[in-house]
Symmetry: C2
Subunit: 446 residues, 2 copies
């Protein structure tokens, strides 16, 4: 990975007023996404201040030369895939050219200004076509806390510190922020029962994760060394891995979570690129009593493999919404606490020969910090539902109730004060409303 | 599902000589796939006798009316996806029109004959773009045999008879028959050791499965009742879920198999449609001490939910190939022994609201029959590697060795003698040959 360059300079000043000192989308960020408007079909954009650059429109002016120009010409379709599959030199060149075009005094101001659309006039879409989705388990604090609920004396399994545990998730049900989440029905084995019942999940939970997009593809049967891995790291978003804990407990042996996770996974709409994250690189937190295994170790990873991405989870209940109260923060943590880094996840994923495609999505696994109040799920915050949370308005929660909205947000602040936003992903729980022909499952006995 | 109709009539006689009494591709089968030739890019085809119908070429003549004609017009691209997403009425109409065009005396003989390409002149491709791949665990004999290796007194987990256990697999690494399989490297915990080592898998295995393709999509948050499920069943192929048992044993707790399975999954090239399978419908074998749960039960499923698809696994070692010996049969079974049916897999998959897309692939899970010699993997046939198989030429096997070729084939024979082939999927094991820049893992200690 490169060092910070002129695109990260905190002194950069844009001709676009709203970009300067913008808490999420200053000129140093330039995240990429796909949006549509009442009149325009889905198209690629870059967020800057309170505006969005319509890249298809920008491309018609061919304002950039060289790699940046070639890169822009791939951004005229309905997804970012043709762009993110390019070698990283293209995205870096595009970032530099776009940054220069947005600076005060740029000769391209008029051309770029013509392409701006207010963020209030758009609806965000999935940023790319997601071929495969993999969910990791990189927070040792989460793994330990969840393990403790099942195995108090031996919470962490023997393999945890040797390799980044992961499993395949469902790509088809990944949705963009704002999509309502219907409480799933499923088989549940209640305590002191031998027979499961089919009912709407009584233990619906969120999981606060970082989403990681793969860029440049990696072919089958060609494992990626850890040193090569970051060439395939395109960028990040926030990800909520909605989970039905009661369904999960009954179904997951012996092959892992399935229906308890695959009904929906929500992501924030903007991809913050690996280039924009350079100032927020940190040394990974060390928890191990020994170094990483050779295949998952590298000097760069040891010194700069971590990312200090702050994460916040907030809840707004239906009652809070009705009385116009602001969401309440449930937890705060940072991805810097993860036991495994992005490079380690990518390299490990290809060890046996699995290929990666542009637009593949990884979830980092629930991110929980070292302190109990930094936990990234209700399962942990309420100790498996045993200790309800009491909210400021007096309401209590063990798991999510109908009408609850969960908002997961992310941002980075560098040691010198530069701040960029990763974005927000929100979802509100709706009671199960069977669609046409859907089974009436509610509470029925099997 | 419909009853057998004129397209299944055993007396049908084709103007194409090689189709009549063809063991795999008689006029009653008409499986669909994608092929390419030295001169032609990938295109859709139907296998008939020793020939393949070039559907893009056929479409230029617009030989069919109505739904069949509309269906044919979707078959001019590089994948079957635009066709298989259509409602089943289209594929049924297309099948009928194609069957009639191939019968002796058809007025379309000259037009269809013009589109034929010899199967010897083509290379088969993946039949469709696979969005998501899910692997089930439907053989109670496999689940019991594998469970016995780990828990001799309690082999079958309590959830097994209540729901079809499944997990998400890797779609990107599904390949078509013939692709070489490189022995994967991975972390393995050897017996009597506390520290894993990285080495080429010493327990590489096959898993004989049925592949099931989803046709008509099912939207998110709209569970499919069991009665509706088969409308979304497009067809089947044979599937080999290559598995590295030593890597699997170390990595799979607590979230399921990951790298031990995701390096490659091989499928046979032709999709035999649900319509072609109608004569081979059977009552599912009953193993349960009680009926299926209500949500997974239906009169049709109880009477006709099973499919009698015969499966054969053969092995040809490098030594056998060198001395020109034929492959040796390792096991025989039938999908009729599966505990769970296709309709139950589809319905269950959508229970919590997961959407299905056209081209999604399910694996049935390893199919093992009730007798030990009917087991669908070496793990079972050798009791975890403890009892080597002795082959007719004197070679022994516990797991697969370099140069071994596994051929999985499938076919159906009705009670009245009609036979159709499902196809073959083969793969030969190659020693690990690191690609450019790939790590030299061989036997190295961590």
């Amino acid at each position: 990975m490169a060092q910070p360059d002129e695109t990260h300079d905190e002194a950069l000043f844009s001709w676009l007023k709203s970009a300067n000192q913008h808490p999420d989308f200053p000129i140093q960020n330039l995240p990429m996404g796909v949006f549509k408007t009442r009149d325009l079909p889905p198209r690629c954009g870059v967020a800057i201040g309170d505006e969005i650059i319509d890249l298809a429109k920008l491309a018609t002016s061919s304002p950039f030369d060289g790699l940046a120009g070639e890169a822009l010409s791939t951004l005229t379709g309905k997804t970012l895939n043709p762009f993110i599959q390019l070698p990283r030199s293209y995205s870096a060149a595009f970032r530099l050219a776009l940054s220069r075009s947005l600076r005060a005094g740029s000769r391209l101001e008029a051309i770029v200004r013509e392409t701006l659309i207010s963020k209030h006039d758009v609806e965000m879409c999935l940023p790319c076509s997601i071929g495969d989705y993999t969910d990791f388990y990189t927070s040792i604090h989460h793994a330990t806390a969840v393990g403790k609920l099942f195995r108090p004396d031996n919470p962490l399994l023997p393999n945890y510190k040797w390799l980044p545990i992961g499993y395949h998730g469902r790509a088809s049900s990944v949705v963009v922020s704002g999509q309502q989440v219907y409480r799933p029905n499923g088989q549940v084995l209640r305590p002191n029962s031998n027979e499961p019942v089919m009912l709407p999940s009584e233990k619906l939970d969120y999981e606060a994760e970082l989403g990681i997009f793969i860029g440049c593809p990696s072919p089958q049967f060609s494992p990626l060394e850890i040193e090569q891995a970051e060439k395939h790291f395109f960028g990040v978003c926030m990800l909520n891995d909605w989970s039905a804990r009661d369904i999960q407990a009954w179904e997951y042996q012996p092959l892992g979570p399935f229906l308890s996770k695959n009904f929906v996974t929500s992501i924030s709409p903007w991809i913050v690129t690996a280039e924009a994250l350079i100032p927020f690189r940190v040394q990974p937190t060390k928890y191990s009593d020994r170094p990483y295994v050779a295949a998952l170790n590298s000097p760069f990873n040891t010194s700069n493999g971590g990312l200090d991405i702050q994460m916040r989870v907030s809840l707004r209940t239906a009652q809070m919404k009705a009385s116009n109260e602001a969401p309440v923060t449930l937890s705060k943590t940072s991805f810097k606490h993860a036991y495994w880094t992005v490079a380690q996840m990518i390299s490990h994923h290809t060890t046996t020969g699995c290929n990666l495609n542009a637009g593949d999505l990884f979830g980092s696994g629930t991110q929980s910090g070292p302190e109990p109040e930094e936990a990234g799920s209700l399962l942990e915050l309420t100790e498996g539902g045993k200790k309800p949370l009491t909210l400021p308005n007096g309401e209590q929660r063990t798991f999510l109730e109908d009408g609850d909205e969960i908002i997961l947000s992310g941002f980075c602040i560098s040691s010198s004060g530069l701040r960029i936003g990763i974005g927000n992903v929100s979802g509100q729980i709706a009671s199960t409303t069977p669609g046409p022909g859907a089974p009436m499952f509610s509470g029925q006995s099997l």
